[in-house]
Amino acid sequence: MNSKIKLFGIAREIIGSSELEWEIAEASTVQQLLDSLKSNYPQLANLKSLAVAVNSVYAKEGDKVSSSDEIALIPPVSGG
C-alpha cells in the first residue's frame, strides 16, 4: 500500500519534495524501507547518517513499518 513519507533538510532537497508517496510492503522493516529509498535516490546513501522516525519516534533498523504509520526520514540533525 502507498504511504506518504515526510522529508526534511537535505533529504527533502535530494528527493525534491517535502513528502514522498512510497509503496510499503506488508510487514517490511525500517532497514528494507531505507534500502529501497537509497537504491532509488543514491545520494541518500552519501549522507553521514539517515534515520527513520515512525510516529515521531526514532525507529530501529529491525522495527516494522506499516502504511498506517507516520513515517519520516531523518538526515543528520544540526539544531542549536
Partner: protein, 137 residues
Amino acid sequence: MMFKIVDQPLNPQEVIDLVAGEEAGAIDVFIGTVRGSTQTKKVLRLEYEAYDAMAIREMEMLAEKVKGIWPVHKIAIYHRKGVLQVGDIAVVLAVSTPHRKEAFEACQYTIDRLKERVPIWKKEVFEDGEEWVAAHP
C-alpha cells in the same frame, strides 16, 4: 509550554521566566546565535527547518532524562526555525536547579544531546553556495 519551535525572534527573558522559582538558587541559560563566519566562509543567512511534533517530543524526553541525572527544578527550550540572519538567536535553553554546579552540567548536557538527537536542520547560505550542516561525512 516549556518546549517550543517558533518562527519568530526568540526572547531569552521569556524562557528564563519559565524556569525561575523559589526552589531555584541557580539558573543557567544557553543562547545559541548565528555567527557571521564559519571556518573561513562568510555566512549570509541560515535556514532552519524542524519536524515540529517529533522535535517537541524529543525535547520532552530529553528533559525527563536530564531530571533523572540532576536535581533539576525546571527546563525550558525554545528553538527558532525559518530564515535567520547573522546575530539572530537560534535557541534558548534554561535550566534551574538548587545549586550552580548542576545547573551548568545539566544545561551543557541538554544542549549537547539536543544537537545530536532533536530533528532540526540548518542550511548555511554563503555568498557562493549553500550547505546543510553536518549532512555529509
